[in-house]
């Protein structure tokens, strides 16, 4: 179901005074629409989203994107919008580049009079750049950010209240975890674009060579430690693709599932009703998780030594080269491996093709407390006019947000790397095509019920990108003992939350 906002509620361009003027009306309207939306459609329950359920609803919905867009912002609207996002990088498969290009072509065809100033920024640079730009009142009108970042900007007053209803949708069309990530202090500051969970991939041939069952993933994190050691001992190759670089998003995405599985965490984010007030970084579960990494890196030396300076991108080549046994990976990894194999030459090509053939996807292992994975994805946000250079053309912004988060493009843009943020996307024929053509998509989507969002507090980025990786590095370099490193991290988190 699509809910439309009356066209005359919005101005063609917005300055601060106009914004205040429209604020009250928009607030009332959005509240009413949200209520209607929630009544009309029940919120998503991730626990029911089994691979079978996902397959059963794929292809049951026909979507006319242009017609939906016309009801939100007229197709002849003339305007301008600036937009920053983490665009496809060299590490992404070709299909991601193609879909991105197709999206911009489709948007230009649908809204020929809206000029979009697009800036693609690298994943590891975007946060720092956007912070600086917002601080200097030079931010873009729209920014698509990974799920972890938005709350910091919202808490800083650098985002505008903007709900799915403002883009013509219902909040109930999006995953609850995703809506949580765009909510700060009871207000909604963005629209989810895509959501995914990772899985464990392994090289079945290397497992076989090491004397392990080639068709079975390690069931627990303790098994991962044991498997990694066995692979190293029997083949001389690295077992598990540990990542522990500081200020690289890959690190928390790969370590937090392990921490949560053992019953740890940065805060109580893995609990059913997290308060984000209790520090878990030095509880027994967290210490056990760091100890497991220590055992792999220091005791068994069964993981790449370069884990401390590597991002996940540096693990992909050893994996395709048959030098790495297993790693936590993105849904798009299989497509990327296929691309690498297609581009390899000579003996490398044969080896890469074998690795692709022997690649298996499985659930991320469980621990004594639970099976867990980071509930990942991205959201699109409208920046606060005070942080943007000049006025915001809100209608142009709404058009782009709506186009991107609708069932068609939230599915296509997430083709191999993620899943549509708008759950109506799961009902489309494009979703059916994805399920039919993308191997292991059912495995990665079946991790969704185990997804845990990062703490929805402004300090989350520093905790996840700096404090947690620092904790790992302190233990793995033996600068501190495992327990000391956890205590050090806990003390830093407490200081941070205490307002240091």
């Amino acid at each position: 179901m699509t809910i439309h906002i009356p066209r005359d509620k919005w101005s063609h361009s917005l300055n601060r005074r106009k914004l205040l003027g429209y604020g009250a009306a928009a607030g009332l309207g959005a509240a009413a629409l949200r209520f209607d939306g929630m009544m009309a459609q029940e919120a998503v329950d991730p626990t029911t989203w089994t691979p079978e359920f996902i397959a059963s609803q794929a292809g049951t919905l026909e979507v006319d994107t242009a017609a939906e867009m016309a009801a939100i912002v007229p197709l002849d609207y003339t305007g301008k919008v600036s937009y920053w996002y983490v665009g496809p990088s060299e590490a992404e498969p070709q299909i991601t580049h193609d879909m991105d290009a197709a999206f911009w072509e489709a948007f230009a065809a649908t809204y020929p009079n809206i000029e979009v100033q697009v800036t693609s920024v690298g994943y590891n640079d975007m946060l720092d750049k956007l912070r600086t730009a917002a601080l200097g009142n030079a931010a873009p009108m729209l920014a698509k950010m990974p799920i972890l970042w938005g709350v910091e900007f919202a808490a800083s007053g650098q985002l505008m209240n903007f709900t799915p209803e403002d883009a013509g949708y219902s909040s109930a069309e999006f995953w609850p975890g995703a809506m949580k990530s765009v909510t700060w202090d009871g207000e909604v500051y963005g629209v989810p674009t895509n959501n995914e969970t990772m899985a464990l991939i392994w090289n079945a041939a290397l497992f076989d060579e090491a004397g392990l069952d080639p068709e079975s993933a390690p069931a627990t994190w303790d098994d991962v430690v044991a498997y990694s050691a066995q692979i190293k001992e029997n083949t001389g190759k690295s077992g598990y693709g540990l990542v522990a670089r500081v200020n690289a998003g890959n690190t928390p995405f790969r370590f937090m599932p392990q921490m949560w599985a053992y019953g740890g965490g940065a805060l109580d984010e893995a609990e059913d009703s997290p308060t984000y007030q209790t520090v878990y970084a030095n509880n027994e579960g967290s210490i056990a998780a760091v100890q497991a990494s220590y055992d792999m890196y220091v005791r068994d030396q069964s993981v790449p030594v370069s884990a401390l300076t590597n991002t996940q991108a540096e693990n992909v080549d050893p994996f395709i080269g048959g030098q790495l046994g297993m790693m936590i990976s993105h849904p798009s990894e299989y497509a990327k491996l296929n691309d690498l194999a297609a581009n390899a030459e000579g003996a490398d090509a044969e080896l890469a093709a074998q690795v692709v053939e022997n690649t298996r996807y499985g659930l991320i292992p469980e621990g004594p407390a639970r099976r867990a994975v980071v509930f990942g994805g991205s959201n699109i946000h409208v920046m606060n006019p005070d942080s943007v250079d000049g006025d915001i053309d809100l209608d142009a912004a709404r058009a782009l947000v709506a186009f991107m988060t609708g069932p068609e493009w939230s599915t296509k843009l997430a083709w191999v790397g993620s899943n549509p943020g708008n759950v109506r996307g799961f009902q489309t024929s494009w979703m059916k095509e994805r399920i039919d053509t993308i191997p292991f998509l059912d495995v990665t989507t079946s991790m969704l019920p185990h997804g845990i969002p990062f703490p929805v507090i402004p300090e989350s980025t520093e905790i996840m990108n700096i404090i947690i990786p620092d904790m790992l590095q302190n233990a793995l370099t033996e600068t501190m003992s495992v327990e000391e490193s956890c205590n050090d991290a806990a003390s830093k988190i407490e200081s941070l939350l205490g307002g240091l």
Partner: protein
């Protein structure tokens, strides 16, 4: 010791101007000179205005920010005056342990990089100063590290040093010199020496160029006279060449020191200060605190400390550069 005074001391005391009177005579000398050359000052006024905007204002803003608490909200309009709290946090408070560690890293990085680049540059300058076949080619090759992009160089060195697939370890293993890979960038003990080597490689051509220019000024006649007097090559180097290089040596060392204190690219790209902050230096730590931990207030205090150190370097640099200028220009 008894203090004596006599006619000679009395004469010296009256003829030696005090600091205040020297300053006053400098002012009374320079002001009329500026008035007389006001046209010249008008020419440089646009440049001065630009510098006020792009240098003086940010410096003022940073110093001002260092006395405030900005919180995580980056709300500069509502910043709270906290006096010297940010300096206290850095020097004796919660950041002090990290600050001390980073300061030691910075000293190691700066001293060893400067010394290494200077000595290697001096050696290279002495070699390429002599006439030999292919000298131009060798000079060109030696300049490559300097002209290559710092970012590209950092990535190349990162792969040379890579702990699992690095070229250096690979070659040494092939030659049978080592059994297992040398861990450069992932070891808290090896990372700083490894970075310093990469930095010396990048910087030594600059020292070479500077010292080569200095070597051209050493009079050939003095060398010949020393040879006639039986001076050994070492004696000629230390007693003829080096005294003539004194000025350029001071300037080169100062410039290298300033460059190393400000050197961000190599460290940030190769290790981002890791592992476990073992290669964190002041400039990367300032970036980390400001842009990754979003503490612009503490980072500003940190920057002011670095600024004061740099200004002292700048003072000595200007003094070395303008030695004798005053005598030549103010009459």
């Amino acid at each position: 010791m008894a203090v004596t005074s006599g006619p000679d001391q009395a004469v010296a005391a009256t003829s030696s101007p005090t600091r205040l009177s020297r300053f006053w005579s400098w002012i009374t000398g320079i002001v009329p000179s500026m008035v007389a050359h006001r046209g010249d000052y008008l020419y440089i006024l646009p440049a001065l205005a630009v510098m006020m905007v792009v240098i003086a204002y940010p410096v003022y803003f940073t110093i001002n920010l260092s006395f405030h608490n900005t919180g995580r909200a980056l709300d500069f309009d509502n910043k709270v005056w906290t006096g010297l709290d940010n300096y206290r946090l850095l020097l004796t408070g919660d950041y002090s342990r990290e600050f001390r560690k980073v300061t030691i890293n910075t000293l190691n990085w700066t001293i060893w990089s400067t010394l290494g680049a200077f000595l290697m540059g001096l050696g290279a300058a002495l070699v390429v100063q002599r006439e030999f076949i292919g000298r131009g080619l060798v000079r060109g090759i030696l300049l490559i590290p300097w002209v290559i992009s710092a970012v590209a160089a950092a990535y190349i060195w990162r792969w040379l040093y890579h702990s699992d697939y690095g070229l250096i370890s690979g070659v040494l293993t092939e030659l049978g010199l080592i059994d297992s890979n040398i861990i450069f960038l992932d070891s808290v003990d090896m990372v700083m020496p490894a970075l310093i080597v990469a930095n010396i490689w990048k910087e030594f051509p600059f020292a070479m160029i500077m010292l080569l220019a200095g070597l051209q000024t050493v009079p050939e006649g003095l060398h010949r006279a020393a040879m006639v007097d039986g001076a050994s090559p070492w004696n000629r180097f230390f007693h003829v060449t080096m005294p003539h290089l004194k000025g350029v040596t001071i300037i080169t060392v100062l410039l290298l020191t300033v460059a190393n204190l400000n050197s961000f690219t190599t460290v940030y790209i190769m290790t981002a200060g890791g592992p476990a902050n073992a290669s964190q230096i002041w400039i990367t730590d300032i970036y980390r605190i400001a842009f990754q931990r979003v503490r612009f207030d503490v980072a500003s205090a940190y920057s002011v400390i670095l600024f004061l150190v740099m200004m002292s370097m700048g003072y000595f640099y200007v003094k070395a550069l303008t030695r004798g200028d005053h005598r030549r220009t103010i009459k």
